[in-house]
Amino acid sequence: MPLNIIVCIKQIIDPEIPASQFKIDPSTKRQVQGSHSLVISVYDQNAIEVAIQLKERHGGKVTAISVGAATAVTALKSALSMGADEAVLVSDPAMVASDQQGIAHVLAKAIQKVGGGELILTGCVSGDWGDRAVPAFVAEELGIGCVSFVSRVEAKDGQVVLRRVVEDGYELIEAKTPVLASIISDETNTPRYPKLKDIMAAGKKTIPVWKAADLGLAPERIGAGAARVAIADVYVPVKESKCEMIEGDTPEEQAAKLAARLRELKLI
C-alpha cells in the first residue's frame, strides 16, 4: 500500500558548533548566527531518512513542511535532494513570536492543506529550542495518535508498527493511520548523502511559500499574543572549571596515578 508521508523539518543554526563559539544576542534572546551554517535540525534528517526508506519499500509520496524564515527554503531543498517529492514553506512575520503550541497549530493547518497523510513524521527534539513538544502538539491539533521517540517504522495494510525507544529497552506499538511519530536516531536511519544530480534537480524545483492568510489562520492562534508561555531570558551560564591533569611518561603510569587519586578521593 503506497504511503503518503509528511515530514516536519526545522532549520536551525548548526547545533554542533563548539560552546566557545556560541553567542546569544541579548536584545532578541536568540543565537547569533555569525558565520555558522544553517542545517536541518539533526533528528529531522533521521525522520526524512525513515520517510524515504518507507517510500522505497511501499511506494507513495514524501512531503516536507517547514515553518520558518525564508532561508528555510534551503533546508527544504536538501530534503528534496534526499528524496522527498514535494516541499512547502510556511513563512510569515506574524508567526515569529509564536510559542511551540502556536507553531504546531500552523504545522497542523499546513498538513491539512497539503491533504494530510498516513504518516506524519517529526524529529524527536529540535536542536535549538529542544522542547520535544511540537510533535505531540501537532498530533493533538490533528486529533490523531502520537508515538514519541520512534527509531523504526514498519507498515502493512493500513497499520504501522512503531519501535518506541524507552529507558530500559523498547516498545512495539501498533497504530492505525494516520498517526504521528517523532523519530530518534539509530543505526537504521542514518541520513543519506544526496547525489549531485539530485541536488541539481532539487535546486530547480519551486517551493511554494504560504502565509498565515493562505492557511486561514486566526490571528488569535499565532504570534506573541497567542503564546501560552513567554521567554523572559536566554543566557549563557558562566561556569568556572578547573581540571587537574594527570601527567606521566606512559598511559600506564597516568592510569596508576589516576587510580591512586580516585582512591584518595574515596571514589573507588
Partner: protein
C-alpha cells in the same frame, strides 16, 4: 483544589525514583506558594502506594484505576490524566522528564489549553511580578532560558536528576479521592503490542554510583567490552555518547545526554568522548568527572575535574588492573 498536581509513576511495583524527584518539585512549590501538593496515581492495584505518597509529601492523592492503565499507553494515560486534572483543578502539573512524561506532558497541556515548560532544572518567583518562572537548558545545553507561563494552568516536566528525590516523613497522612475514569479501548488510536526489556547485568545506568562511558574514540563495539570489564570491577554501569549508539555499537538505552539519559553518579569516567554540550547535558550532575582523551583541547576538559591526555584503551586496561588490586 488549587496548587500542584504531580504525576506519580511507578516502576517494578514501587514509586519510581523519577516520581520522587517530581514530588520534591511539588514540595518546593508548596514552600514557595503555600498551596497543597496533589499526586495523580494511574494504573492498577495502586492502594499500597497511597500511604507512601503521603509520606513523600502529597497532601491529596487522586487514584485512577483502570485495566487499560496497567502499562503506559499514551492515549489511555492522556485521557485519564486529563480527567484527573479536571477533577483536581491544579494550577501547576508536574511530570517527570522521561519517555513517559515527555510524551504525556505536551498532550495534556494541549488538552488543558495550558502553557508547557519542558525539562526545567529550577524555578522561583519573579520578585517584580510574583509570577512563577522556570529555568531550563536550551540550545543543547549551551544556554539557559527562563520561561514564564502567560496563562494558567501550566504543565511542566522536571528534568531527570535535576532535583534530589523527596525525603520520606513517617506519620504523614492526607486525603484520598478515587477517580472513576471514563475510558474504553475504542478511544485508543495506538496499542502497545510488546515491551522488550534489555537485560541489565550488574548496575542500572540510571541509578549507578559510578558510570564508565565511551564515545567515538573507542572506534568500535569491541572497545565497550573493555569498559564493561572496568564497570564490573568498579560496580558501575556503562554509558555511551550518541556517536556510539548511533553507530549501533551499543543499544540506544546506553546513551547519556540531551536525547539519552540524565545521570548523576558520584563518578563519571568519559573515555574517547569529546564533551559536546548535548552529551554534557546528561552528565553534568555527576559529582566527579574524569576525562580520558588524546586531544588536550577537547571540550570535555572544561567540565572534568580530573583529566588524562592519553589513549583510552591503555588507561582503561591499566585501570582495571589497578582497581582489581585496590579492591582486593
Amino acid at each position: 483544589m488549587q496548587g500542584t498536581l504531580v504525576f506519580a509513576t511507578t516502576e517494578g511495583g514501587a514509586l519510581a525514583r523519577n516520581a520522587l524527584e517530581v514530588l520534591a518539585g511539588g514540595k518546593r512549590l508548596k514552600a514557595l506558594l503555600g498551596e497543597p501538593v496533589g499526586a495523580a496515581l494511574l494504573g492498577t492495584d495502586l492502594a499500597a502506594h497511597v500511604p507512601l505518597l503521603f509520606a513523600y509529601g502529597a497532601d491529596h492523592v487522586y487514584r485512577a484505576e483502570h485495566p487499560l492503565l496497567e502499562r503506559y499507553q499514551g492515549d489511555a494515560h492522556a485521557i485519564a490524566l486529563h480527567q484527573v486534572c479536571q477533577r483536581a483543578q491544579p494550577n501547576v502539573i508536574l511530570l517527570p522528564g522521561d519517555s513517559t512524561g515527555r510524551e504525556l506532558g505536551p498532550r495534556l497541556a494541549h488538552r488543558l489549553k495550558a502553557g508547557f515548560v519542558a525539562d526545567f532544572i529550577d524555578f522561583d518567583l519573579d520578585p517584580a511580578s510574583g509570577r512563577l518562572r522556570f529555568t531550563r537548558q536550551t540550545y543543547g545545553g549551551k544556554a539557559l532560558s527562563v520561561v514564564v507561563p502567560n496563562v494558567g494552568p501550566v504543565v511542566a516536566t522536571v528534568k531527570v536528576r535535576a532535583l534530589d528525590p523527596a525525603a520520606k516523613e513517617e506519620g504523614r497522612s492526607g486525603e484520598e479521592t478515587m477517580v472513576d475514569v471514563a475510558l474504553d479501548a475504542s478511544q485508543l488510536k495506538t496499542r502497545l503490542l510488546e515491551r522488550v526489556q534489555e537485560e541489565v547485568t550488574g548496575v542500572k545506568l540510571d541509578d549507578a554510583k559510578i558510570v564508565v562511558s565511551g564515545g567515538r574514540g573507542l572506534r568500535g563495539p569491541e572497545g565497550f567490552k573493555v569498559l564493561e570489564e572496568l564497570a564490573q570491577v568498579l560496580k558501575g554501569a556503562v554509558g555511551a555518547s550518541r556517536a556510539a549508539t548511533d553507530a549501533g555499537w551499543v543499544p540506544p538505552s546506553w546513551q547519556v545526554g540531551q536525547t539519552g539519559k540524565s545521570v548523576s553518579p558520584e563518578l563519571y569516567l568519559a573515555f574517547g568522548i569529546s564533551g559536546a554540550t548535548q552529551h554534557v547535558a546528561g552528565m553534568s550532575g555527576a559529582k566527579h568527572i574524569v576525562a580520558v582523551n588524546t586531544d588536550p583541547e577537547a571540550p570535555i576538559y572544561k567540565v572534568a575535574q580530573l583529566g588524562v591526555v592519553a589513549d583510552w584503551k591503555a588507561v582503561a586496561t591499566k585501570l582495571i588492573e589497578q582497581c582489581r588490586e585496590l579492591t582486593r
